[in-house]
């Protein structure tokens, strides 16, 4: 197995402890850093696909995402500047009153893998923070909102309403997700899109940003 194949394999299998050496090995073999990055991105794409098809489940997604993160850490110093084409800029965050971020982090990871520049506002994000960030980043194409608790769904609704009240509304798309969220709820609060999992979110984002 070539070093590059090994990187792909270790990403898919989520081997965070081994991936550093494999990435280093690929670099040592003279593989360009962007190529290694793309290999990992493709591997994450495979993981996302398998997840969508119910072949793998959340734990495997989590370990794969972490392995990719470890691999990227090794790779970063070798990625001279930003020579990958960005699919666009987007903002992501868990709505006010909610501290849960594992799902949101997965989505952010998949979005990054899909070539987006991701501004992650973290958890318990006040409505104003979303609004301000869009204003500070007029090139933002998509705002992604996450909620895990049924009780914080109203905060998601309020955030969408606040974004809708701004002049920039027509320039952005709003995507929502999280365990209690449904397509019906997304329609009701006026979000542009809902997806059930991280891989679909990345695909949907690409579609919306195109």
């Amino acid at each position: 197995m070539s070093k590059l194949q090994e990187v792909a394999d270790l990403t898919e299998r989520g081997k965070a402890k081994l991936i550093g050496a494999a990435v280093q090995g690929a670099l040592d073999e003279g593989t360009p850093a962007p190529e290694i990055l793309n290999t990992m991105i493709d591997a994450m794409g495979v993981v996302g696909e398998k997840f969508k098809r119910n072949e793998i489940f959340v734990p495997e997604m989590l370990v794969a995402a972490r392995a990719m993160k470890k691999g990227v850490e090794i790779l970063k110093p070798h990625l001279a500047g930003d020579n990958t084409v960005s699919a666009g800029k987007l903002i992501i965050g868990t709505v006010a009153g909610d501290l849960h971020d594992i799902g949101k982090n997965l989505v952010a990871m998949m979005l990054e893998s899909a070539g987006f520049e991701v501004i992650d506002l973290g958890v318990d994000v006040p409505i104003e923070k979303f609004v301000e960030t869009v204003k500070e980043n007029p090139d933002v194409k998509i705002v992604c909102l996450s909620a895990l608790l049924t009780t914080t769904m109203p905060a998601m609704k309020d955030t969408v309403a606040a974004l809708a009240a701004e002049d920039f509304r027509s320039n952005i798309k709003i995507m929502v997700g999280g365990a209690p969220i449904t397509q019906e709820f997304a329609d009701e609060i006026g979000a542009d899109a809902y997806t059930a999992d991280a891989a679909s979110a990345a695909e949907k984002a690409k579609e919306l940003a195109a």
Partner: protein, 574 residues
């Protein structure tokens, strides 16, 4: 169709309709069986020994055993003897009941010139009894000019009842554990500290939402009022039932102590859970509360009081404080860990001088929910799985019949065994030629004829990984915050019914509990309920509880930046 059931110890025989459970028969016969789980086969407290004609005697759960032939049954200890004051497995405390009864003699008025009626009472009792209007009225209505003998029922300086009857009044207390799923009640004789009888029921709030978030959501969107009303009504029902069985009345109950998670606490008291279900997840009130029972609509003695144990945080409630009260953790220098596994797994780590608590989102997988063939610990559930030297896998089914599903303890055994024989690898990947819907599965009983068999799927293994990962991450992060290494933990208290059936070696093999602690695990049963009982039998316990709650630090796992990494680390079975 009827059969004869013969109770050997009680020397009773009765004719019973076929299909009834032994527990139902015991209740109808007034035997006051102990079934805090409500006959769900979870708690194991209704264990009896029984046999049919010519059969060997075997140990069974009365609630899971249906009468389908003539049976001979031997019961265990009597209820009172099982539930001694000291909290079973827990901390031994002396009985200093919260409410006491005192016989006093009022001197004739003439001998006590210059004293008011209440002062005469104070003098006779030797205690600076506090005036209360109902009691002053009661005293004033009786002409005691020539002196009188009477009973006073009091909680320290507070007079709860005056009785001029000859007979010594009954003085009872009741303890309740208000769980999200089930309720457990204990009626306690405050003179002896003995548990007279117990009751259990399903939490009627179930119809407003299965979990705390669902119910909180109903309270916020609609109102907490119906949730409050239905739980109070059920508690009254349980209290009345227990009093009736103990051949007394609700009027004999002078103190009611309560534990439950923070959401159950708020909803019982009619407090909106609003602040608790939004970050930073803080309750509306966290200190212990002592309230007139009549204010809460609790039907007991007119001056009875309700004691709600304090809360630690929004997701670590009075039930955890009850657990701290009844186990040794907070009273010793040795480091210990208290684990209460439910939908949220609450953990407390530490010792007498410092403790930290957290709540982990373990989810209901370990209770058999979200698992393909998951079920409660009832008849037909695989409760244990073993592997022999030649690699043969053997199952043990509750009730001894055909396996219908798998319960929490069986699930943990199953995964440990499959890891041992290599069907599951350390990453949790299942290698099996058998598949259902493209997913690898392992059959514990293959389908035969119309019956669908019992299996564990790849997805089930993943669910367990998430649940055990959450708990194990909680343990790791508590230890890190306290700056201790896991090997320093001398004892692990495993609370709840789940803990009673769990095989420690397997819980450790799958990484639910750190492997270093395998030989240090003690199952402590319903430690929360035991804590509530202690409030009644030990007058200082409520102050201890308050101190324990205030001096137990709370760790919000979700706010720790390292949480996700540790959680992902703990997903593995390595």
């Amino acid at each position: 169709m009827t059969y004869w059931v013969r109770w050997e110890k009680e020397q009773k025989a009765m004719e019973v309709n076929a299909g009834k459970t032994l527990l139902e028969v015991m209740i109808e016969a007034g035997m006051h069986p102990d079934a805090p789980c409500g006959g769900e086969g979870k708690c194991g407290k209704c264990r009896v020994w029984c046999h049919g004609q010519g059969e060997e005697e075997r140990e069974v759960l009365a609630c899971q055993t249906r009468v389908d032939r003539d049976l001979w049954v031997r019961t265990g200890e009597s209820v009172g003897a099982i539930h001694v004051l000291t909290g079973g497995y827990g901390r031994k405390t002396e009985i200093h009941p919260l409410v006491t009864v005192q016989r006093i003699a009022l001197a004739p008025r003439k001998e006590q010139p210059g004293l008011s009626e209440w002062e005469r009472l104070q003098k006779a009792s030797g205690i600076p009894l506090r005036e209360s209007l109902p009691m002053v009225r009661k005293l004033s209505q009786r002409n005691t000019k020539d002196g009188a003998d009477l009973w006073i029922v009091r909680s320290r300086e507070k007079v709860l009842e005056l009785s001029f009857e000859q007979e010594e009044p009954q003085v009872w207390g009741a303890a309740f554990d208000i769980g999200t799923t089930s309720l457990a009640g204990y009626l306690v004789d405050l003179k002896s500290g003995e548990v007279l009888t117990t009751a259990s029921a399903i939490n009627p709030q179930f119809s407003y939402g299965a979990d705390v978030i669902g119910r909180a959501n109903y309270a916020l969107e609609e109102s907490e009022e119906p949730l409050t009303a239905c739980i109070r009504e059920k508690v009254n029902e349980m209290l009345a039932e227990m009093c009736r069985r103990a051949q007394g009345s609700c009027q004999d109950v002078y103190a009611v102590s309560m534990v439950g998670n923070s959401c159950m606490h708020h909803l019982f008291l009619g407090i909106s859970p609003q602040s608790m279900v939004h970050a930073p997840y803080q309750p509306a009130v966290n200190r212990h509360l002592i309230l007139p029972a009549s204010d809460l609509g609790i039907e007991a003695a007119s001056e009875a009081e309700v004691f709600w144990l304090p809360l630690i945080a929004g997701f670590v409630g009075a039930d955890t404080v009850g657990g701290l009260l009844s186990t040794e953790l907070a009273w010793q220098d040795e480091l210990s860990l208290l684990i209460d596994i439910g939908t949220n797994g609450e953990l407390v780590m530490g010792n007498r001088s410092r403790r930290m608590a957290c709540s982990t989102a373990a989810g209901p997988a370990l209770e058999g929910a979200k698992i393909s063939c998951g079920m409660r610990g009832a008849d037909g559930a695989i409760e244990h799985v073993e592997v022999d030297e030649s690699g043969g896998v053997h199952i043990q089914v509750i009730g001894g019949g055909i396996a219908k599903g798998i319960c929490g303890s069986g699930l943990i055994d199953a995964i440990a065994v499959l890891l041992r024989i290599g069907v599951i690898d350390d990453d949790g990947h299942m290698n099996s030629d058998d598949q259902i819907d493209g997913q690898p599965v392992y059959w514990f009983r293959r389908p035969q004829g119309t019956d669908s068999g019992v299996y564990l799927s790849q997805k089930d293994v993943r669910e367990v990984q998430l649940a055990k990962g959450a708990i194990a991450a909680g343990v790791t992060l508590l230890a890190a915050q306290l700056g201790i290494t896991l090997t320093k933990i001398e004892k692990v208290y495993l609370a709840g019914a789940f803990g009673t059936y769990l095989r420690p070696e397997n819980a450790c093999r799958i990484g639910l509990i750190p492997r270093e602690l395998e030989n240090r695990i003690t199952a402590v049963g319903n430690s929360a309920g035991e804590g509530a009982i202690q409030i009644l039998t030990c007058e200082n316990a409520i102050r201890d509880a308050e101190r324990l709650a205030r001096e137990t630090e709370f760790l919000e796992l979700a706010s720790l930046p390292e949480f996700q990494d540790v959680f992902v680390d703990e997903l593995s079975f390595e």
